[in-house]
Amino acid sequence: MAAGSASPRPRHHIVSALVENKAGVLARVASLFSRRGFNIYSLAVAPTDDERLSRITIVVDVESAPLEQIVRQLDKLINVVDIFELAPEDATEREMLLATVSAAPADRGQVIGLVGVFEGKIVDVGQDRMTVMLAGSPSKIDDFENLIRPYGIVELQRTGRVALPKLARRAARLRSIAGGSTPAPNDNEAG
């Protein structure tokens, strides 16, 4: 669960669009955001299991425009096949980070330790630098980035988020015995 569940409505929402895998589709999406004044926080594009389709995962700033407008305008693009929005609390989100960190022999043990705690990987090692990789929830990546920063970040690259809807959790033990109404799947944002 995202930290700060007591904070006001999140600024960011995730829009997940299934688009035709054709030339220029990303340009159409980016251009729409630009001309309508919508802000993109991060964007990730990749093929799906169906070679005719790609998925674009966009984290949007819902303060720049109402989410409903963003989704409906995107849906009007002829190449957008399907689109859905995900509130952060309803989504399983992951992101990957690659960072080259200064790690002189004296610091190396501490950096390796941090990578281990965060279940990351060391993917390359040089004389006084190493490149580390970490995949995880965006907040975990944020935390890791802050912790390695004091050692000296030479280069850092994040992928932007990808996300899928959380699966409905309706385990038998959680069902109301009195037979009252069961909460709808994903209806877990009360309070």
Binding site: E20, G24, A27, R28, P66, K76, L77, V80
Partner: protein
Amino acid sequence: MRLTGAQALIKSLEMQGVEVIFGLPGGAILPVYDPILDSSIRHILVRHEQGAGHMAEGYAHVTGRPGVAMVTSGPGATNIVTPLADAMMDSIPIVVITGQVATTAIGTDAFQEVAITGVTMDITKHNWLITDVDDIPRVVAEAFHVATTGRPGPVLVDLPKDIANATMDWYWPSSLDELDLPGYHPRTTGDPAEVRRAAELILAAERPVLYAGGGILKARGAEALFELATRTGIPVVTTLMGRGTFPDSHPLCLGMPGMHGNYTAVTAMQRSDLLVALGSRFDDRVTGKVAAFAPGAKIVHVDIDPAELGKVRRPDVGIVGDARIVMEQMIAALDAAGLGPAATPAAAGSLAAARPDLAPWLAQVAAWQKEFPLTYDQVEGGALKPQYVLEQLRDMSPDDTIVASGVGQHQMWASQYWRFDHPYTWVNSGGAGTMGFAVPAAIGAKVGRPDKTVWAVDGDGCFQMTAQELVTASAERIPVKIAILNNAYLGMVRQWQELFYAERYSEVYLSPDLPDYVKWAEAMGCVGLRVESAEEVAPAIEKANGIDDRPVVIDFRTDAFEKVYPMVAAGSSNDDIIVGPTEGEGGR
């Protein structure tokens, strides 16, 4: 059957039922111009590619069929960018074919290379760059389907020269299933529960207004609107794009709302308790300051484009669907609630029987109409008033005359003073405000409806932007008539400078006689006439209406100081409408 790409393109256009192409050839589109010689499709050779685009728009406006334009790559394609933007804003279905440099040359800065699909991405509903000759028939079918269904709009198909020269086995998609449009499924039928809620709001309203827009025309919904209005007895405002959807002569018609709308249309919306928006989009020129627009009104919003619902004003009931179909659904829902056709009593015990009496509201509306009519003053022997010219032109021309206009003061006066009693008789550039629209749009309209009289009402500033298309009209024997309201100024800009910039006139003076419009008209093969006083107006119009073998241009020398009223200043509330020059700021 083995065809070249060029032949396949022309054959595809024939399969779509295209009867006319407006265009101008050039290097990259050369292969496609060869099979035109053997085609049944008429080609009209324009003098500038912008003209081709606006002609296609004018044709689409009056026929409801997509207009087709064809131009070459590079500057040919960029010259048609303005018509594409214009058609995008006003949801006009046009199909533009552009030549492109060979696929092997794309990206090399080749001669006359412009990546026109990139340039027009934001001002087309969709566009295509064809890279495989086998795709041509399918893409043409997709282009026409996308342009004409859902919310209509312009599309562009870019055809590289080597693809036009390659060969393919001819086929034609036999159904929509063979098109490759997995993400395109426009919804046309309204949600029945929402339609019922809309009917309930209509039957509960005390001060309702139907806010009829251009979407009704695109949906061929004028008859449904007439039934809805007369059955419910609700007054109708018709927006700039919707003029003619409901007859101006009908007692329920309040005319045009908005920045230069009449007092009654503007104020009825402001005071209403229910606005039923039908194919209209709460444009800033209609709403004025949005926060102060129709503050007491519940909103029913019907639009085929889901993104319009809630874009400007959040509806109480939002219905996605085709305006005609949804209005027919509403009529059925009203019927079910006990409201029969006009002049039949409501069914006893029904929702309709408990409906508030609209008589006080209609009496209020009628009182506004009486107190605040449109006014102008044609003084005998005084300067010629543009409104007088328009009233004479209206009264002396056939009832179903098609009127095209440019953009500015003359456009507003034409919309205000013409009496639109038929749909598809008003052709103008609403959203984009494209000066120079009138002449080519009128030519396209006349090509589409050769049986009708077509008058372009133009300004002197607008006329100078696209007048060369009258050469096209003369050469092709398209007898359009042009009324230039020549006030020697960029009049609307002049009006704003007078009212809002302390009469500091900056770069708005054009001169009444440079160019000499009569000589220019004659040089282009037209009849040219000049009118300088009120008594000359009627004889000149009579003469023009009698000419049917060539275009006519009348240079009406009108009063440069006349301003368009009423007026709601930009960013102001519609409550602060200025009715005439004696009120509000400035004026003579």
